[in-house]
Symmetry: C2
Subunit: 257 residues, 2 copies
């Protein structure tokens, strides 16, 4: 769809994709310096940089001054920037994101119960233990949330489908702020208990139970969400001229924050 465009930047992106697909570029590889690469490809450095910036912004490559440019290993974070734009443009609420989890994660739990390997069960166990620790420490609510999400992600891995794993890891990232908020409203033991039940069902190789426990777990959170106001509620605000004037006046807050 974008391979036959007259856009030089688009062509460069297509080229890089081809190099990646053909394994001529592999994760960890260092790309030639921008100046060299531009000369090799017979394009200006400006155009090349535009293409590189695209890949950097979505996380395909990492650029570091003085060091160079490297191809990153695949990571779900590649999708997070675009998904953020999409969520903003569409005005999607946290509730709807939570609903998506409610649709998919019970299925993934069932699948995990069918095919979890011993290492997956260990990872789930570790996530629960870490959650208990950070609960005991009490002070570290941050670590609690982190290990909460870690449990769910470990379950994604256990389900054995990288596509769902990636897609919903991104959803989790977009929800992290929210989870941090709601987890303050639920007794930690409650959450830990749910996780334990889910893990038990997986160990018992009982897909139906795992699915059901996960559904209850998420519905629990969803219920909380129903009572809370939507998160995204900023100033409706103005349009270009106003926005830009404001940013110009307080240029610092616009670009330096």
């Amino acid at each position: 769809m974008e391979s036959s465009q007259p856009n030089l930047t688009g062509s460069l992106l297509a080229l890089f994709k081809r190099l990646i697909a053909e394994k001529a570029l592999r994760p960890g590889d260092r790309l030639p310096a921008e100046r060299d690469l531009a000369e090799t490809l017979q394009v200006s450095r400006s155009s090349l940089r535009q293409a590189l910036k695209v890949m950097e912004s979505i996380g395909v490559i990492s650029q570091q001054v003085g060091s160079g440019t490297r191809l990153n290993p695949a990571a779900a974070s590649i999708l997070s920037e675009p998904l953020e734009f999409l969520i903003l443009l569409d005005g999607i609420s946290s509730r709807e994101l939570m609903e998506a989890r409610l649709i998919v994660e019970p299925q993934l739990a069932a699948r995990a119960a069918t095919r979890a390997r011993p290492e997956d069960e260990r990872a789930l166990e570790r996530a629960i233990e870490r959650m208990e620790e950070s609960d005991a420490a009490a002070a570290d609510a941050d670590a609690f949330v982190t290990s909460d999400l870690e449990f769910h992600r470990a379950l994604f891995r256990a389900a054995g489908n990288r596509v769902c794993e990636m897609l919903f890891t991104v959803v989790h990232q977009s929800l992290e702020e929210l989870v941090r908020f709601t987890s303050a409203l639920v007794p930690p033991e409650h959450t830990i208990d749910f996780h334990r039940q889910i893990l038990a069902a997986i160990r018992d190789r009982d897909p139906e139970a795992a699915e059901q426990r996960m559904r209850e777990h998420l519905e629990d959170v969803c219920a909380l969400l129903g009572r809370e106001p939507a998160t995204r509620a900023r100033t409706p605000a103005d349009r270009w001229s106003d926005a830009l004037r404001r940013l110009n006046g307080a240029a610092g807050s616009g670009l330096e924050s």
Copy 2:
């Protein structure tokens, strides 16, 4: 995570995201000319263009020489470019993508059976009719595949969760080539029959039946896939120096195709 970066491009992206979130920028809006905008924001046109190119490449904006730059309405295609990179980097097979559908779409079918509005049912009906037409026409295998996917997307909408709708519309895009391939192996009536059964279950408000029919439908396709060789099997190929030498020699095929 990327809001406090010293990268000017990153800061600009964050700025645009804020403007979108605050509705200072809305779909359809025309942005100021690059030169003006650069001056207003007190950044060079090069840096601004890098940020704009990022947004254009993922489909947030559209740029047209002579005309200007406009903000696009939200579209699932925003995720397709990044997802392609991710699939390439991770070496994800069509089979795994199909599995993801198998995990999610039955659930969405069940959900659709619960909450489909009359207009949703009409859309599903239309998709089926279009499929029957293009089957009768026989010649147009392309239209058949298109309306096949259209049915599934209409079902996403009927399920009423835009997050799943977007995510899996993208998965469909990545699979379109494959679907085109497999649909040649299955009797068209078979596919149409499955779709009809699914729609019937939705009309009956029978989530379990809808879920089950959809699962059978996708397992049907998955089974085919198991016997076929993986799609992505190009030349393992070389590394940078080689790849670039080749591209340099045949610069045309590298950048102009």
